[in-house]
Amino acid sequence: MELTKEQQAILDGSQGEVMSKIMKTLVMYGETFGATKMVPVTSTYGHIVTSFGVIVLKGVFELMDELIAGGVKSKQLFSADPRPLDKKVPKNLLQDLVFHVMYGPQKRYEEQLRKIGLLSDDAFTCACYFPEVGNRPKKGDILSWAESSAVNYANSVLGARCNRNSGIIEMFGSIVGYVPYFGLLTDEGRMASWIVEVRTEKMPEAQLLGSAVGMKVLEDVPYVKGLDRWIGTELNDAATTYLKDFGAATASNGSVGLYHIDRLTPEAVEHGEKLIRPDAKVYVIDDAELERVKASYPVIWKKKDAKPKLCFMGCPHMTLAQLNDWTDRLEKKLREKNLSKVRIKTVFTSAPAVIEAFNKTERSRKLKDMGVVLSYICPLMYMNNPLCAKMPVITNSNKLRTYTSSRYYTDAEILDQITGGTK
């Protein structure tokens, strides 16, 4: 790899041994993927995937201490994924005890993040790109992020450029301000090797469509046709919310870092089908295919027909529009069923800044009155508690389903279940 004088000097130790090791790590990482140079990170802020001070990550805490002792400060401040704990989220005494042991080092880890370059005490969300949060890259920005759903959204919906990096690597990129140039940073790497033709007769569920696409294309870039019929050709609130959930499912059920939506996402609008490689494969998705995919999900609950004890919504975190919409839908459904509160403990999760905005509205009181807990927590971190993993938990998130024992249902099914079912 050819380095600039400044980059070579850092590698040679001009900024100390620790910075030299950081640069060495990034150079080795880039060379593995054929990078010929390092390019500057141009986004205002970074974003860190590791937000959880879980006890088994002893090595990470020691690394952070080494960075701090070496005087390392990140060139760009960064937000971080959601916190793993929130007192408001339902749990029993034993679960609570396990949480305290599991996430015992959380305080120490947050302090370490602050010393390296945490943006603010409230900058904990997987959806840092929400307007209310403010870590929203511009088209063409080069990023050093790792959170799979955020990388996927930034690349696809915002037109920024970021590889699907690992935790720690992304922090190193933010610290030195450079990332190796390969993969999704290049024009070539952003070409689609799959054409996905959406031929459904009804609006496809975002989380289900994303799951189908992810499972089929794995780490490749898909160019999706036919979705504009359902979500339009304008990147408005509804479309971007849909794409957030669609993209997170492609990223977790496969390893998609970038997708193009015909006539909608920035690069597809700009270049159209020129983004498709000549040898691209084709995947046709109709309603039957989505049903097949949904039926393929294993149910790993001990008792398959157990009554759900908890429902999580918001993985990735919900947008303000989603909070508003779900409050209205719940209110209407409960009224139809002559109920006042949800029948399954339900937690909606969102970014602290979105929660703050939502709490200024009338709907906030309504949601609370209906018995729904609104939290900034990471549902995945909650489910990592082995005692919580044993509980029958339902969700509309295909990411949460993939990484935990929770069971996926469509939005309509969730709405029905948390309001007492169909009887």
């Binding site: 790590t25 993927f33 990550l57």
Partner: protein, 145 residues
Amino acid sequence: MEKIFKGRVVVPGEATLTALVSHGGFNTLASYKDCKEGKNICTDQNNPDLFGKSTVGVALCLPQTIGSTTGGMVFFNAAVINCNPGAMLFSKPIDSLAAAGAILASVWTPNNIPTVDQLGDEFLDYVKDGMTIEIRPDGEVVVRD
């Protein structure tokens, strides 16, 4: 009987180790949920090849890693607490998460994990749990029954 495969060196090193084979993608985060100093029993219920087996000190033979982008960090952490695989041998081109893990371990810990990728599908078809594997510094991998 022995068979030699040639791959690309990602992290150089030499070792002779016992093979542990995952035919499906190796979900790093799911596999290290209960790692302790010097000990890790694979916790990924979706990996029938490895679930319940020790992944410490073995030559981990796999196509690629899958799952959370915390994967590289998890490998690095495993190296710090001495429960990392002794080597990683990929049939396909290495993915960015596994590469990050192997490189972080090599630069930041004393536990270098020799890593070779692009060994080909035939490698993964041939190698079985318990076989002896010699990893050479030039990317040659010798598999012995």
